[in-house]
């Protein structure tokens, strides 16, 4: 899935200003969450879109066309419902697509889109990485090769796992593509950062 992990990034673009990159810092990978993690929301919206159609079909069959008089009002209600669903889907897509992990030679930056105009950025210096593990669980994750990346740190960590909020010492990031490859990449950058600090 090459489109999920981007390389050769021009960090001079204004879009990267908010990351406050250091002078000698270069973004090597931009990682977005795997699309399969969005399938649940997409399925929910498609299911909800079917509800008024099914209800109309059942009502029409049961009431034998007695909805005819209320036609325009029902039509407006359904139209509004679809506008709401489209807006909800678009907002959910932004929440999914704008959760981004930047891997630089100095840090791991995890940008967490939390909703309308709300973003959180947590960062972890490469030097503080102690251990990186990848978890691929279940049929979907095994089939599409995505999963959870758990980075053990020397400092305070963060977690987007609702069962383990604010877990100290761990960075937990869900639904990342090819987590084993990402784990290897992070370990390599960690070794580089250590070597730069201790050239002997």
């Amino acid at each position: 899935m090459p489109h999920l992990i981007e390389q050769n990034i021009d960090t001079n673009d204004d879009a990267f200003l908010y990351l406050n990159l250091h002078a000698d810092e270069k973004i090597h990978y931009i990682v977005r969450h795997h699309w399969a993690g969005f399938l649940g929301t997409l399925g929910l919206v498609l299911g909800m879109a079917l509800v008024p159609i099914v209800l109309l079909f059942i009502s029409g069959a049961l009431l034998d066309g007695s909805l005819e008089g209320a036609g325009p009002i029902v039509f407006l209600f359904i139209s509004g419902f679809f506008v709401f669903l489209l807006t909800f889907l678009f907002g959910s897509w932004i929440n999914y697509y704008y959760d981004i992990v930047f891997i630089t030679n100095k840090r791991i930056l995890n940008v967490d889109q939390k909703g309308l105009l709300s973003r959180g950025t947590s960062e972890l210096p490469m030097k503080q990485v102690q251990n990186v593990s990848a978890q691929v669980e279940g049929f979907l994750q095994t089939t599409f090769n995505y999963g959870t990346l758990v980075i053990e740190t020397a400092g305070a960590g963060t977690s987007d796992d609702p069962n383990r909020p604010g877990l100290q010492g761990y960075f937990t990031i869900h639904d990342l593509p090819d987590p084993n490859r990402l784990a290897r990449i992070i370990i390599e950058f960690h070794h580089q950062a250590e070597a730069e600090d201790d050239p002997s």
Binding site: E6, D10, D13, A15, F16, Y18, I30, G71, P72, I73, F75, L76, S79, G80, F82, V83, F84, L86, T87, F90, G91, W93, I94, Y97, Y98, I100, L116, L117, R119
Partner: protein
């Protein structure tokens, strides 16, 4: 007739709220999109779908009045 107007007014208010929320989402994309990402493509698809629903409703309402 008054009831119809009330319903249409309610629908117009609802559309205005949805439009405001969508404008905030557009601003978010304008502010945070990265070069070469899929944001603009998805945004165009979203706008086309929204306009299809709204235009279809407008044509229907116009046809029955």
């Amino acid at each position: 007739m008054d009831f119809d107007r009330l319903v249409l007014f309610g629908y117009a208010i609802f559309l205005a709220v949805m439009l405001a929320i969508n404008l905030l989402y557009f601003f978010q994309i304008y502010r945070y999109r990265l070069p070469g990402d899929a944001s603009i493509g998805i945004l165009v698809i979203h706008i086309i779908l929204l306009l299809t629903v709204i235009a279809g409703t407008t044509v229907y309402i116009g046809a029955i009045n």
